[in-house]
């Protein structure tokens, strides 16, 4: 069986501006991002025959297809679990194209999370499981659920707030190089971090991602077709989803080892099908709704051992020139929080050599979706 390795490539990326509030609606933003990605690739909308997005995406395939004038669609897929689905949208398109079910795929995410209500404020649409076990006690928000694991992680392994600051700072430093980033002109200092207000102790304001309006998209085609596109292809080298046995989502409190999450499962599959190892990764885009997800993911994807994720961030390791530059566009913490789709497009920019914080000669990039929920990941190469 041929498998997915380098069988497909991302050949187009597109995005709208990012802001706390944009005037246009989500459907219009989706159309703009998708058309920008197709233009970037040099592919006409009428050639698109496959779509993939998130179950939380509000613009459905019918609306998008008729608005931008797609051709006949033969594959369309949606992935669940919020930010855990980001990389899986590309993975599903890659699988469909490699299997012959489609030829030109578009993945996208459009979200007005800045303008819209915070999802946790809804008391009407909560799933009974596991909400009945958590919300009555005031564990209300994703930040609270992850902070619970973060406190235990810090207790068990000696990770500190300085380690979490290292994560926040690296993202902010990259955003300060990226004019499209919401935090482009807002430097972060340790003093600002250490004196900021708490959101859910041990997590402070700067441990939490932004709340952003914006949309992004990318175009996936076969490696053969990719040669004819406008930009150099960025190959999907390996792709994986991950839902570990006895996993409980962000409230992963009821199994042997709550601190071993979906990253470990996705990573096993990802590396099994790859021609290179973690130490060969030039740059990584790691899902960062909350800073502790970075050290946990560093462990999960094999960049360091269990419990070493905090220490890994020391000595500027996550900065340009460090052991593993991460989230080079500013990530969800400082560029835009659009369920991690900007991490995919930033990975493509790095491998094209066009990032605003370019890692010299980068030829391999790991992109991950959210740790702490059923997740997904991509290894990209130029």
């Amino acid at each position: 069986m041929a498998g997915l390795k380098d069988a497909t490539a991302i050949v187009g990326i597109g995005q709208t501006p990012f802001a706390r509030q944009l005037p246009e609606d989500e459907r219009t933003l989706a159309c703009r991002a998708v058309l920008a990605a197709l233009d970037d690739a040099g592919i006409a909308p009428g050639e698109v025959d496959a779509l993939a997005s998130y179950t939380m995406e509000e613009t459905d395939e019918v609306e998008l297809a008729k608005a931008v004038g797609f051709g006949d669609l033969t594959f369309f897929s949606k992935v669940g679990y919020g930010g855990g689905g980001s990389c899986a949208t590309v993975a599903h398109l890659a699988a469909a194209i490699a299997a012959g079910q489609a030829t030109v795929g578009v993945a996208w995410r459009s979200r007005k999370r800045g303008s819209g209500p915070r999802p946790w404020t809804s008391t009407a649409v909560q799933l009974p499981t596991p909400a009945q076990w958590t919300r009555p006690f005031g564990l209300l928000r994703p930040a609270d659920e992850i902070a619970m694991l973060a406190r235990r992680y810090m207790h068990e392994y000696g990770a500190t707030r300085d380690h979490l600051f290292n994560v926040a700072l690296a993202s902010r430093n990259r955003a300060n190089q990226n004019p499209a980033a919401i935090m482009y002109d807002r430097p972060l200092t340790r003093e600002m971090y250490m004196t900021s207000r708490w959101i859910s102790e041990p997590l402070c304001l700067f441990d939490n991602c932004l709340e952003t309006d914006g949309a992004l998209a990318c175009v996936v085609v076969s490696r053969e077709r990719a040669r004819d596109c406008r930009r150099p292809p960025v190959y999907v080298h390996s792709a994986a989803q991950g839902l570990p046995a006895q996993h409980h989502g962000m409230v992963n409190y009821w199994n042997d080892d709550p601190l071993t999450g979906p990253s470990w499962t996705a990573a096993r599959h990802l590396w099994k099908h790859a021609d290179f190892i973690p130490q060969d990764v030039d740059v990584a885009q790691i899902y960062d709704a909350f800073t502790p997800l970075i050290p946990l993911s560093l462990e999960g994807y094999g960049f360091c051992g269990r419990g070493e994720g905090g220490a890994f961030t020391e000595g500027g390791a996550l900065e340009i020139g460090g052991r593993l530059p991460v989230n080079t566009g500013g990530g969800g913490l400082s560029e835009a929080y659009v369920h991690g789709f900007n991490l995919i497009t930033e990975g493509v920019k790095q491998l094209r050599g066009t990032s605003t914080a370019q890692v010299p000669g980068a030829s391999t990039c790991l992109v991950t979706a959210g740790e702490g929920v059923p997740t997904s990941a991509l290894l990209l190469r130029s």
């Binding site: 564990l139 207790h155 042997d256």
Partner: protein, 138 residues
């Protein structure tokens, strides 16, 4: 305050809690406990289950202190702590709850400096049948 939105598998837990008992679901065939409750046993696939009484004792495995923005009734009591209690009888089961001075006391009734990982706690129940936790006297 939010009341539990109870699903069919969880109903027995809350029924026992209303009677002042902390019980966990256990497989009627192989005896393995599981939480949250679910229709069949992930170890032996039996659909038979029973509700095993626990001692109601445990240790704080982790905790958080939420600050606003929060839902209004929680914001009024913030900052409060939410604890995750590892049950003495079933260490893989870590129950979310609040540490309070006595049954029915407000969420923030124990001073923050008294909360620490590893502290021994004992379950109590509010009048509405919601489990809470008090520090065990040492």
């Amino acid at each position: 305050m939010l009341s539990p939105v109870i699903d069919p598998e969880g109903a027995a837990f809350w029924r026992y809690a209303a009677e002042g008992e902390l019980r966990v679901q256990a497989c009627a065939a192989c005896g393995e406990v599981r939480f949250p409750p679910r229709p069949c046993c992930p170890h032996c696939r039996s659909f038979g289950s029973e509700w095993r009484i626990t001692s109601g004792r445990g240790r704080i495995w982790s905790y958080v202190v939420p600050h606003p923005p929060l839902l209004p009734e929680y914001a009024e009591q913030a900052p409060y702590h939410v604890v995750l209690v590892e049950l003495a009888d079933a260490p893989r089961i870590r129950v979310v709850g609040n540490l309070v001075t006595e049954a029915g006391a407000p969420l923030g009734s124990v001073p923050p400096e008294r909360v620490r990982i590893g502290a021994r706690v004992q379950v109590v129940f509010t009048g509405a049948g919601l489990p809470q936790w008090i520090l065990e006297r040492s």
